[in-house]
């Protein structure tokens, strides 16, 4: 598992490094482009965790769709590009409490001996086929409801974003 570890750390480094750029960059366009590498790194980690469908979905929707939408949002806004974004400290006390709770949770995850836990050996090789079978048999109704949800989202988005309604 030597190569696995190296690849994992490469993707983790890409994700964390670009996420730091997103947070600390003063230029919102640079931040948005840096988010591309964050999404990509997360997709790589999904692949390593044997979630191939999730990884492809991550690339297709987050990189291909949501990031484009964010960049459009930046480009469509009139006076956001030349304005330097403030990245100062605000709301220090609530943020401190929230961060310490999160840090405690993460520490709990890190120091629990989850590596020794008896996980069933993964026999699943590719998840897309299994997902397709489940969608077409056991979860047929949720699948069709997803279509209705998408329809509602489409009409709602068009209604709100339309210029002259």
């Amino acid at each position: 598992m030597e190569l696995f570890d190296i690849v994992f750390y490469v993707f983790a480094l890409i994700t964390l490094g670009s996420a730091c750029v997103v947070v600390f960059s003063k230029n919102i366009v640079h931040a948005a482009f840096s988010l591309l590498f964050t999404f990509f790194g997360v997709a790589g980690i999904y692949v390593l965790l044997r979630a191939d469908f999730l990884a492809v979905t991550q690339i297709l929707i987050y990189v291909g769709g949501i990031l484009v939408l964010m960049l459009f949002g930046v480009m469509l806004t009139n006076k956001v590009i030349n304005v330097k974004i403030k990245t100062g400290t605000m709301q220090a006390w609530p943020a401190g409490i929230a961060v310490s709770i999160l840090a405690g949770l993460l520490a709990g995850v890190f120091y629990s001996n989850w590596k020794d836990a008896q996980l069933p050996a993964s026999t699943v090789d590719a998840t897309t086929h299994l997902l397709g079978e489940m969608l077409m048999t056991s979860y047929l109704l949720p699948f069709e409801i997803a279509s209705v949800v998408l329809l509602v989202a489409l009409i709602g988005a068009a209604l709100i974003a339309r210029r002259n309604r």
């Binding site: 690849v7 366009v29 692949v47 390593l48 044997r50 191939d52 469908f53 990884a55 492809v56 979905t57 297709l60 929707i61 291909g64 769709g65 949501i66 484009v68 939408l69 459009f72 949002g73 480009m75 469509l76 806004t77 009139n78 590009i81 030349n82 090789d125 590719a126 897309t128 086929h129 997902l131 397709g132 079978e133 969608l135 077409m136 047929l140 699948f143 069709e144 997803a146 279509s147 209705v148 998408l150 329809l151 989202a153 489409l154 009409i155 988005a157 068009a158 974003a161 339309r162 210029r163």
Partner: protein
């Protein structure tokens, strides 16, 4: 599965190495004579004015939103496509129901004109009597009448 994505990974590494290799090689062999004029934007010989980034038409945003919905729809098509052959007509009609429901939304945005592009509405200058016309012309017109 991991070995198949390993191939994708090899392609990614090759892509990075190809671009980086080209840049590094040209950096090694090119002459280096920088001067300030080389850094300016070339705009057909004109002095560039203002920022490179301009505000885009809001219409792009609606189109991007609509695209996102159909992007999610495509994600549902992938797992279906892998089992389509085994399940036959049943799976085909189920997906048709899925697509027809979304097609209603497509018809809606089409009908409501969200897919129509904004055309520029030029202001055609309208002649108003006596405005923007030199006095002597006006006089001539008056005479003609």
């Amino acid at each position: 599965m991991l070995t198949e994505f390993g191939r994708v990974f090899i392609f990614l590494i090759l892509g990075v190495v190809f671009v980086a290799g080209g840049l590094v090689f040209s950096w090694l062999i090119r002459p280096n004579r920088p001067y300030p004029s080389k850094l300016t934007t070339y705009e057909c010989g004109e002095e560039p004015i203002g920022d490179t980034r301009v505000r885009f038409n809001i219409r792009f945003y609606v189109v991007a939103l609509i695209f996102l919905i159909f992007d999610v729809e495509v994600v549902f098509l992938f797992p279906w496509a892998t089992v389509f052959k085994g399940l036959g007509w049943f799976a085909f009609f189920e997906m048709m129901v899925f697509l027809v429901i979304l097609f209603v939304g497509y018809a809606y945005v089409w009908r409501k004109g969200d897919l129509d592009w904004d055309r520029p509405t030029p202001k055609v200058p309208k002649y108003e009597r006596g405005i923007g016309v030199r006095e002597d012309h006006l006089m001539e017109e008056e005479v003609a009448l």
